[in-house]
């Protein structure tokens, strides 16, 4: 199971709305626990596939290195990635699968319909090698903190 705060969940969906009709992408920082990947922070990344950003994304390795350094200073790991599918199913595509190499990480995909975030799904990349890797549907637990509860109710 992927554990994600409501604010991070909202932020990654908002990112997909902002970049629509292009794909957004970012990194999930947190910890891998026996209960699953627990996200503590999300980091937006640039999509370097400017040639066809409407249906492709790529995060520059240089940016990943910077994010990995940032994670280390916070005592966190890279536990997953997110991206959006503009007007396209919130399911992994063959391209997503072919380009997925971070076994043990969560790949979160948000469908964005006409600029509005729709379904968000997560897929856990499992396996021991490129030859036997596979995506598994991964339940997502959205955690709402007491502060977020107060904000939702419009209280200070």
């Amino acid at each position: 199971m992927l554990h994600l705060s409501f604010s991070d969940y909202s932020a990654l969906r908002a990112h997909g709305e902002e970049t629509y009709p292009h794909e957004c992408c970012g990194v999930l920082l947190g910890n891998s626990t026996p209960e699953g990947n627990r996200v503590r922070q999300i980091v937006r990344a640039g999509n370097t596939r400017t040639d066809r950003a409407h249906d492709r994304y790529n995060i520059a390795p240089e940016e990943l290195i910077r994010i990995q350094r940032q994670a280390r200073t916070l005592g966190l790991d890279i536990v997953g990635f997110y991206h959006s599918h503009p007007d396209c199913a919130a399911q992994w595509s063959q391209t997503d699968f072919a380009e997925a190499h971070w076994v043990g990480c969560s790949y979160v995909i948000t469908r964005v319909d006409q600029g509005k975030a729709a379904i968000t799904n997560s897929f856990l990349l499992t396996g021991t090698s490129e030859e036997d890797k596979k995506f598994l549907d991964e339940p997502v637990e959205i955690e709402v903190s007491s502060v977020e509860n107060e904000q939702e109710r419009g209280q200070p």
């Binding site: 249906d55 492709r56 890279i78 790949y107």
Partner: protein, 95 residues
Amino acid sequence: MKINIPTPLRAYTGGEQTVSVPGATVGETLQQLTGAYPELRQHLYTGEGKLRSFVNLYLNDEDIRYLPQKEATPVEESDELSIIPSIAGGCRTNL
């Protein structure tokens, strides 16, 4: 020299996120790394011994593919090598 191990490969380094290995060049340190952790080899290299296309190696902030001496580039103890598998994808399957 310190080598940063990405999350998916830590299963093969006993959970270590950084590993220190000796070596005078990038290639030597990689040999030391895969010598110390043999299971890493198949995840970094193809059966023909070539670096897998999705594996990026950065010496500090430089992609070793674009360094003039590539894996023969000399390294110092204070340098840092990062192994970064690529992150990409997209909603369409067609090319």
